[in-house]
């Protein structure tokens, strides 16, 4: 039955002359080829879906009540927003005071184009201003092609020292399981200038 319902939904979308009414979402739209088109429109319209903390259920409930952009949403009091019930699995659940407060603060940041600090962000244990060296990592995995045999296809590491240009190590995996394995081993084998300095 679910398949028939899904096929009918696709047929309705294909026959429609307008885009389906759906909120944008980072996870949901992440790898969709139409993401930029939908997101650009949503950001331009200040759609409530572009407000972090407005979940999909809240979007449907609010959008259906005529609250479509975040200026309109900001007009709602925190107390009223907290009491709004939205779809939550098979049930309905209040947005609640904690999330309502975050939504209001988030909109305030968007409207004023300023950062709002809820509390001072913690930096790593032992942090002192300007502490170096530090390392940045950036790994990327291929979620689309399990047959390729490559899980992580991009390894990046940046070493930032007290002075001088940061040293980067960048590795791209070759094809297949062997490429995956070799990429990982090359990454592990990297001995940064800092490591070499420590060893000598």
């Amino acid at each position: 039955m679910n398949r028939v319902r899904e096929i009918n939904r696709i047929i309705r979308i294909r026959n429609s002359t307008t885009a389906p009414l759906e909120p944008v979402g980072w996870s949901k739209c992440g790898f969709c080829v139409f993401r930029n088109a939908c997101w650009d429109a949503a950001v331009r319209d200040k759609d409530i879906a572009t407000v972090p903390y407005v979940d999909q259920g809240a979007w449907h409930q609010l959008f259906g009540s005529g609250v479509k952009n975040y200026h309109q949403l900001y007009e709602l009091s925190e107390e009223l927003l907290a009491e709004i019930k939205r779809p939550w699995g098979k049930h309905r659940r209040r947005i609640g005071p904690a999330r309502a407060r975050k939504i209001k603060k988030q909109i305030q940041a968007l409207k004023t184009n300023r950062i709002i600090m809820a509390s001072p962000p913690p930096l790593p244990p032992g942090y002192r201003p300007g502490t170096r060296p530090l390392m940045m990592f950036d790994l990327e995995n291929d979620v689309f092609d399990p047959d390729l045999g490559v899980k992580v296809y991009l390894w990046g590491c940046l070493l930032v020292k007290e002075s001088g240009t940061p040293a980067a190590k960048l590795i791209v995996a070759g094809p297949g399981v062997e490429g995956d394995r070799q990429g990982w081993l090359d990454f592990l084998a990297w001995r940064s200038p800092w490591h070499r300095g420590q060893a000598s």
Binding site: I115, D138, G156
Partner: protein, 92 residues
């Protein structure tokens, strides 16, 4: 860093992902095209490139993207350091 930002700050952006936060930190990418989806597609083009010359050119784009991600992360970290050191300069 993501936790330090998302749990303690409200940013004037629709996302707290690197590609949005790096702009607040003043970082500019060296390539016009980038992103997770772009990277996966470009990696696929690299693996299937018909000639070594083409493969090398595509590889260069992928490595530049990865390097930009790393330097963007550093820019965000340094931006966060400034906020912690002097909250009044950046925040309400």
């Amino acid at each position: 860093m993501y936790d330090a930002i998302s749990k303690h700050l409200f940013l004037p952006t629709p996302s707290y992902g690197l590609k949005w936060v790096e702009k607040l930190a003043g970082f500019q990418r060296s390539q016009e095209e980038f992103g997770g989806l772009w990277s996966i597609i470009t990696y696929d083009r690299y693996i299937n490139a018909p000639t070594k010359e083409q493969a090398d050119k595509i590889l260069d784009e992928i490595l530049t993207y990865n390097q930009d991600d790393l330097i963007a992360s550093l820019a965000v970290y340094e931006w966060l350091e400034k906020i912690v050191a002097d909250p009044t300069s950046h925040v309400l």
